[in-house]
Amino acid sequence: MAQKEEKRMRVYWNPYFGGFLLGILIIFTFYITGRGLGATGGLKSGVVAIVDKADTEHAHENAYYSKFLNDEESPLNNWLVFETLGIILGAFLSGGLNGRLGFKVQHSPKITVKRRLIFALIGGLLFGLGAQIARGCTSGAALSGIAVLSVGGFITMLAIFGSAFLFAYFFRKNWI
């Protein structure tokens, strides 16, 4: 039984190796497209597309949605949307090949499932909101920004991690 478990759950990559591959991927992405990676843009396009479908007039009148709408093509026809679809596939592939697929709520044994899900929802909400203000997230603003030595990229990275460290003490019960 223990042997079967061992075979199913493979170990994660060495982080330096993963980081190295990620760095190479970023170089490749810039080399081909002239831009870096992103993770929030595709989700933003999704929201814009949904609102546009539900109430086109409202979407066009709103100063934010209208930035991403043009009458020629769907807001979903953009690079980041295709990339995001790729992320889902790639992660699924990696999880599948390594025996990590499965529906579950991952949480510290010290807290309930309900608590974990509530904090996950709030965390996502904050991150989504913050990413709009900063015009990017850890992938798009920080990582891709730093690759080309953008000042904004560095500031965003420092702000994200600095803030998380600052608040970590207050959330310790959820993690340790």
């Binding site: 992320i87 790639g90 699924f92 929802l121 900063a134 992938s139 030595l149 702000a159």
Partner: protein, 196 residues
């Protein structure tokens, strides 16, 4: 000379295909590095797992060194690459809010998508949260607009802002990163082990 698609060496129609393939690679690398686990990601903030630090800094260094090298060798035009714009207020406050979201939810958007893709329900909820957050921001945009547009300093790089050579800067950044890796391992050995 890169970037290949903007310089029309590769036709623009290929852009979406590259996006998909690059995305697949991105998702694969993140998941294989363990970033589909919120408890692993949160580890850097409590000292029990520094994967986030190691992956992030290694990727940042490899990419910035690689791009600089390719520019130096004439394979890639650094000046033609998209530089994330610097909006001082937006970066600080948006980043601050994101940091709070990170420690609350244990994910960032990219990692949450990876975790959701392998079935983690808390990640799915997190992604739902992101969509709601984007929606809220958009609906209340008139209130956020000054923050969103505040402190615009241009599409500036470290070299523009500090009159420093990119090579010197990246060298210093490398030393700092290596130092942080050493400190990370020292801290991890002394922190109570967390099983997840």
């Amino acid at each position: 000379m890169g970037p290949l698609i903007p310089n029309e060496i590769i036709p623009a129609e290929w852009n979406s295909i590259f996006a998909l393939v690059i995305g697949i690679a991105f998702g694969y690398i993140l998941e294989s590095s363990g970033f589909s686990s919120s408890r692993k990601l949160a580890g850097v903030f409590y000292g029990y797992d520094f994967a986030v630090l190691k992956v992030f800094f290694t990727a940042a260094l490899v990419s910035s060194i690689g791009i600089l090298y390719m520019d130096y060798m004439g394979y890639l035009d650094l000046g033609a690459l998209y530089v994330h714009p610097t909006y001082l207020k937006g970066a600080l406050i948006g980043g601050g809010i994101m940091g709070l979201g990170f420690i609350t939810g244990g994910f960032c958007p990219g990692t949450s998508i990876c975790a959701a893709a392998i079935g983690k329900i808390d990640a799915l909820v997190y992604v739902g949260g992101i969509l709601i957050g984007i929606f809220l921001f958009s609906e209340l945009f008139s209130r956020f607009e000054p923050l969103y547009d505040g402190g615009f300093m241009g599409y500036i790089t470290i070299m523009d802002a500090f009159e420093i050579s990119p090579y010197v800067f990246v060298f210093a950044f490398t030393l700092l990163a290596v130092l942080s890796f050493v400190i990370a391992d020292i801290v991890r050995k002394r922190v109570k082990k967390v099983v997840y």
